[in-house]
């Protein structure tokens, strides 16, 4: 066989002789036709998701209700299961099918999940993330559950469960505060005092460095933990209202107020553990646990890295120190986890019954007992069995005037993950260029919030 002289000839030589007879135009025509068919199929499939079913609620409540849960770790998973068991015991005739999905996978697939065939009830968070799905019509209004069967929830919690349209879409289950955690024994041994103001914190930090301890444990490899530090500083420097409106995209990131937050942060970076970008929060928490670090700004889930019993009892916390005396320290962060009902549940009556149950003190007692790093949202929950840390958390949250969720729950998730994570990480790498950083955030914010 001779070598082909051109590309076309080469291509032609690949085709076996038996089918060379097929006219190229025929083939093309066929392909176009098939393409069109597939195309219309895809369009039809995409638009068919918008049909809805009304779902009547009358009659006795029976049948199966499905629950999509992101509580995939062993401890919280068992907690969900025991709540479900208690529900089934109280409502014979109703079966709950729990569908547990890995925590991160659940979160990453939430858009597709809610638009596909979601479970009747699903676990989710309060804040912007809840209001977003409510306004996109991917969750059901459950105001009637709130008015008929939910008691013992504070007004703040009800507000945190309310969508943009004033209706409730969420039932709070548990929450946990963010604060500055420390080991009582370390503070006692070295004679450290809990800092009340930023200056106190700096003095304490200098003292700890003299004693060979990293003052504030810090890890931001995953990108989100440092958001907590930003939130704390912004709440202390500019207050709750500005923070929430900044998160909602209503304030400019080039505002001197925002620059002051980064400025203040840059001032206390030297008393943070060095090289945070390669460290996970677990590693940072272990530094606190091993007394290599003195304090840690994190949620109370930091306790998961401490052995149950004496070691967890040694763990204590204080609110982030005051920066501006006119702002004070009465705004805190305490993200709320809870449940929502999907758009068109197959068994609406049972789903609402289940939602009412998870908000009740009985259910929350079970949940909190199984996972002691969180506290119940219902005031009626039994606090006698709480650990010292849980009791303190309850007091802490109660005494707060305003409660923020967390940066990635208070703002658009696309803004939080694709703009703020890289921005904060670049700040930690180079804390000097605050103007450039704020400009870059503002430009991207306009692009995202403007769309």
């Amino acid at each position: 066989m001779t070598r082909p002289q051109s590309e076309a000839e080469y291509l032609a030589s690949i085709v076996p002789p038996s089918i060379r007879g097929v006219d190229r135009r025929t083939l093309l025509r066929g392909a176009v036709g098939v393409g069109a068919l597939l195309g219309t199929g895809a369009l039809a499939a995409c638009s068919s998701g918008s049909t809805s079913s009304g779902g009547a609620t009358s009659g006795p409540i029976t049948g199966t209700v499905t629950l999509g849960s992101n509580q995939s770790d062993a401890v919280p998973k068992a907690a969900v299961q025991s709540v479900v068991d208690a529900f089934q015991k109280a409502n014979s005739g109703v079966t709950v099918k729990v569908n547990t999905v890995d925590h991160n996978t659940f979160q990453e697939n939430i858009n597709n999940y809610l638009q596909g065939s979601p479970d009747d009830v699903f676990t989710w968070f309060s804040g912007y993330r809840m209001r977003f799905f409510a306004s996109k019509d991917l969750a059901s209004d459950i105001s009637d559950v709130w008015s008929s069967s939910i008691t013992g929830m504070s007004d703040a919690l009800k507000k945190a469960s309310t969508g943009d349209d004033g209706k409730q879409y969420f039932v709070p289950s548990t929450y946990y505060p963010w604060a500055v955690f420390y080991r009582k024994s370390l503070f006692k041994d070295k004679g450290y005092q809990v800092p009340k103001t930023l200056d106190d914190l700096k003095t304490l930090g200098a003292q700890m460095q003299k004693d060979g301890i990293a003052p504030i444990a810090f890890g931001d490899k995953d990108g989100w933990p440092a958001m907590g530090t930003f939130d704390q500083l912004n709440l202390r420097i500019n207050g709750y209202d500005f923070h929430i409106s900044l998160m909602a995209g209503k304030e400019s990131w080039t505002d001197p107020k925002v620059k002051k937050v980064f400025d203040t942060w840059a001032g206390i970076l030297p008393i943070h553990q060095a090289d945070p970008l390669g460290r996970t929060w677990q590693e940072a928490a272990q530094a606190l646990q091993q007394k290599k670090a003195g304090m840690y700004v994190l949620g109370s889930f930091v306790a998961q890295q401490f052995a149950k019993g004496a070691e967890q009892d040694d763990l204590d916390f204080f609110t982030f120190p005051e920066v501006d005396s006119t702002i004070g320290t009465d705004a805190i962060e305490a993200p709320i986890d809870g449940y929502m009902m999907s758009k068109s549940p197959k068994n609406e009556a049972a789903a609402k019954k289940l939602l009412a149950f998870v908000g009740s003190p009985d259910a929350q007692n079970i949940a909190v007992k199984a996972d002691p790093s969180v506290i119940a949202t219902n005031d009626g929950a039994d606090q006698a069995a709480y650990t010292a840390l849980q009791k303190k958390s309850v007091e802490f949250v109660k005494s707060a005037k305003s409660i923020a969720q967390f940066m990635d729950r208070d703002t658009r998730p696309d803004f939080a993950s694709t703009v703020m994570i890289p921005a904060i990480q670049s700040f930690l790498k180079n804390p000097k260029d605050i103007d450039g950083l704020c400009n870059s955030i503002e430009q991207q914010k306009k692009s995202i919030f403007g769309s």
Partner: protein, 297 residues
């Protein structure tokens, strides 16, 4: 082809043959259209919109080249990502692949304990890159890692943006070299020994024999190695994703696409624009490769 009879086209075939031939053409075409072209064209189209992945297609708003403009001007991770992709390609091409070839040649010459070397170099290939990332995390961790424990250093291997790309490339090369070694070893075993003997008789040195005789004979394998290197470098993703989700010095185009499209962020339009850019870059390489491959055949 052998017969002199005039070829009368498709009419020559029986109905059954026509159906079978038709199916053989249509089914793969459909699969390619459905799985490759439809999503590709869809991505290109979506890249001109600001769709958030929710709601019917009729809600999609066209925003022109806004996404591309934003990517090039106000999206800080983009240019580093392009740079990192090129560095990745360069390191795979100039270091990892030659290293794999070197391993293959050495093992082919029959050093003592060939099997041991062969399996230990190949072992990382069997592991998924996600697992490779985890294994190296144990070595690289700043506070608890093996490397800093032995050297007593405090280098933040995965966290320092000046270092972590190279640290990740060491891990990726560790795996890539094994893969190339295996491919090349298979090729070397197939080289006709008489060629080497002839070269030896002619007085060629070992190095000369390899570069002048063996290497040219291995042309098909060389092309495969080249293609594998290209593909592996362009689709580099899982390792950096495991390390830190492709942020802070480890940005790659693929991770930016994933950060924007997958997950709650759902900037489908913006992510599609990034994906289209990646498609364009890959197309250039694929086109160049096809040109070379076809010209020479």
């Amino acid at each position: 082809m052998a017969s002199k009879r005039k070829y009368r086209g498709i009419d020559q075939l029986s109905t059954r043959d026509k159906v079978i031939v038709g199916l053989m053409v249509v089914v793969p075409t459909l699969i390619v259209l459905w799985l490759v072209w439809l999503p590709a064209i869809g991505s290109v189209l979506l890249s001109f919109t600001n769709w958030d992945g929710i709601g019917p297609l009729s809600d999609i708003k066209f925003v022109g080249v806004q996404n591309y403009h934003d990517i090039a001007t106000i999206y800080p991770p983009f240019w580093p990502a392009i740079q990192h992709n090129l560095i990745w390609l360069g390191v795979m091409f100039f270091i990892a692949t030659p290293l794999g070839i070197l391993f293959a040649v050495l093992i082919d010459r029959g050093v003592a304990g060939t099997r041991f070397y062969q399996s230990s170099i190949y072992l990382p290939v069997v592991l998924s890159l996600a697992l490779v990332g985890f294994i190296w995390q144990l070595i690289y961790s700043r506070d608890q890692g093996l490397l800093n424990a032995i050297t007593g250093g405090t280098t933040d291997w995965y966290g320092d943006p000046d270092v972590n790309l190279w640290a990740a490339l060491v891990a990726a090369s560790w795996r890539h070299a094994g893969y190339i070694m295996l491919l090349y070893l298979a090729g070397l075993k197939g080289v006709d020994p008489s060629l080497r003997e002839a070269a030896k008789i002619d007085g060629a040195s070992e190095t000369k024999t390899f570069f002048r005789v063996v290497f040219p004979v291995m042309r098909p394998i060389n092309i495969i190695v080249l293609v594998v290197t290209f593909i592996e470098s362009l689709r580099a993703f899982d390792l950096v994703w495991v390390i830190n989700k492709g942020r802070n010095g480890l940005e790659l185009i693929s991770t930016l696409v994933t950060q924007n499209v997958v997950g709650e962020a759902s900037r489908i339009g913006f992510g599609s624009a990034l994906a289209t850019i990646m498609l364009a870059i890959s197309s250039v390489l694929v086109f160049a490769y096809l040109r070379i491959a076809m010209k020479e055949d």
